[in-house]
Symmetry: C2
Subunit: 337 residues, 2 copies
DNA sequence: TTGTAAGCGTTATCAT
DNA sequence: ATGATAACGCTTACAA
């Protein structure tokens, strides 16, 4: 392993000069810099980042903490963050929390021990407030929260425009002629789901439809609970559902079909998250798309800029067959005639 | 930031003693160790890993290099690796190559500069051989390759049992009564696809069916090429296809339906990779499942054990509707009657 | 413009 | 069982 001292010795200068030359300091003669660079290349020198980091008291590693790395949403966020951070000379250290509070604390410790330059994180369900974050990170490590954020914590936040998105999705259902639109709303301890519910309500109000609490269904948003929610919605006389997740939208579709009703003719469905399967089903499922890659990019940019602002990443409604009464269904490709 | 010197001063001992006590050396009086541990806890001490790593010349970070982190397969591999590595006290540093050779070299440099304890990697399509890996990593950093491996490189390798898996998939099609079984084979510069093709051929031979090169279709394995392959297979009189990917299997299904044929009655399909959408389509698509999480686990275990063996992770055939003539189709949940 | 020297926080090798 | 000291490789005042 060749060090700056080796280069210095070979050139008859001191390590400090080599260090300056290599780090682009203006306090080096052009001639010397060239000689150093050439010798460094020749000897195959590569800066020891660990030593450099120790000395400088900071590193070029950025920590990313997510509930589960293999979840489509989070892996795309990481991809987006990495695309920015890598270009800026940072590397990405990843920890998963598996939605557990203890693991989140451990991950934060790992980040601190490794003296990361900053932390981008989305909280575990198991984390009830943000005090552990402050305790562990202190105020020397910049924090950026995305998606699941605690407003109480300092630093930048990157969130989706859940209110606006759910508003659009609901308005779209109204425009398609559905008149009794319920919602599978999710769980209200998440700010994101609460905002979606608000958007749904506002859209109904703005379009002269009554807001009926008996067709707001609070539950988890998995396929099974979606099926149950779908059945309840039918009993309550709904002709459409805005669903706060795609898997529960899938379940709701199954429920509607199980009663012999047609989608979208008799019943309209819009999901949320734009999971890749929504575009592959038959019928394809309309979905309110999050923009995880962009959220990752924005999180990284917020870290780089050092500003503590809140960035809102817009959601985009993907209109597909499950809510589209006006166009021809795209049934050719997979369903039996 | 409290250091071991602070603890030493507070206790009236030297930093060396504190270091020994904290790192579990036997050369410390039990009494002293207790005092040190208590004081450390009291003062909120946390070891500076960067300094420790510099001194020890190694780190507790393991690098993982993948083509694209947000691809389902790779993010699951990472998840599997992380589950083992975290438990063993390592953290995971991630780099993507986006399938480009230059990015792979850069990622390897990043790993080396950060003095990672080891590297787990799956090569970019753009990497033609493994010389750059040896050049960059040297022989001081242990290497584990998974999925896309170069046999020429030293170190452990973790691969899927592609031959056996494709053999099972093809045999399954035979057992369902299909008699002219073609294959969408993929591209042959990948050892994995070549092995799948071999398994397909062997299964036909072993079951007394002819191996007909005119129904082996070499192409990329995306939806569009799958559609084309499906049409060609129909023209060639096939009644089934083993597909080396799930997206091309989807395309093939669409092709078969476009000709008014029924699946699985008239035509059988098995895909590969067990992408999540295969279980959500109608009909559900049979698929030869890779086991990415297990591959990640095995890669991490191979790194920890330090042995250079090749681990073969078995694939598992998931029989679903698209190849199952014997059972009732599961059509209730989504398709129009 | 370059050299000198100190130090980042830890650990390892001595010696005591 | 503990202490003194040096060193890991780099950066940065400060001095020349």
């Amino acid at each position: 392993m060749v060090t700056i001292s080796d280069i210095a010795a070979a050139l008859g200068v001191t390590p400090s000069t080599v260090s300056r030359a290599l780090s682009g300091s203006p306090r080096v003669k052009e001639e010397t810099r060239l000689a150093v660079e050439q010798m460094a290349a020749e000897m195959g020198y590569e800066r020891n980042i660990v030593a450099s980091n120790l000395r400088k008291g900071k590193s070029d590693i950025v920590g990313v903490i997510v509930p589960r790395i293999h979840r489509e949403f989070f892996s795309n966020v990481i991809g987006g963050a990495e695309s920015i951070l890598n270009a800026a000379g940072y590397s990405v250290l990843i920890c998963q929390t598996h939605e557990e509070f203890d693991a989140e604390v451990k991950a934060l410790r790992t980040m601190r021990n490794n003296q990361v330059a900053g932390v981008l994180m989305s909280h575990a369900i198991g984390a009830m407030d943000g005090t552990h974050v402050l305790d562990t990170l202190g105020d020397s490590i910049p924090l950026v929260q995305f998606d699941r954020v605690f407003s109480s914590l300092p630093g930048a936040k990157v969130v989706s425009n859940n209110f606006q998105g759910a508003y659009e999705a609901t308005k779209h259902l109204v425009s398609q002629g559905y008149r009794r639109i319920g919602t599978l709303a999710g769980y209200m301890n998440s700010e994101a789901y609460a905002a979606r519910l608000d958007g749904y309500r506002k859209a109904l109000e703005d379009n002269g439809l009554p807001v009926d609490e008996t067709i707001v269904f609070y539950d988890t948003i998995v396929r099974e609970t979606g099926f149950e929610g779908g059945l309840k919605a039918l009993e309550a006389g709904c002709d459409a559902l805005y669903c706060a997740g795609d898997f529960c939208a899938l379940g709701a579709i199954e429920a509607v079909r199980s009663k012999g009703l047609r989608i979208p003719e008799d019943f309209g469905i819009v999901g949320t998250a734009n999971e890749s399967f929504t575009a592959l089903m038959t019928p394809t499922i309309s979905s309110l798309a999050l923009n995880p890659f962009e959220m990752g990019r924005q999180s990284a940019l917020a870290f780089l800029s050092g500003e503590g602002e809140t960035v809102v990443v817009p959601m985009e409604l993907k209109v597909r067959d499950s809510s589209n009464r006006n166009r021809q269904l795209n049934l050719t490709h997979i369903c039996p005639k």
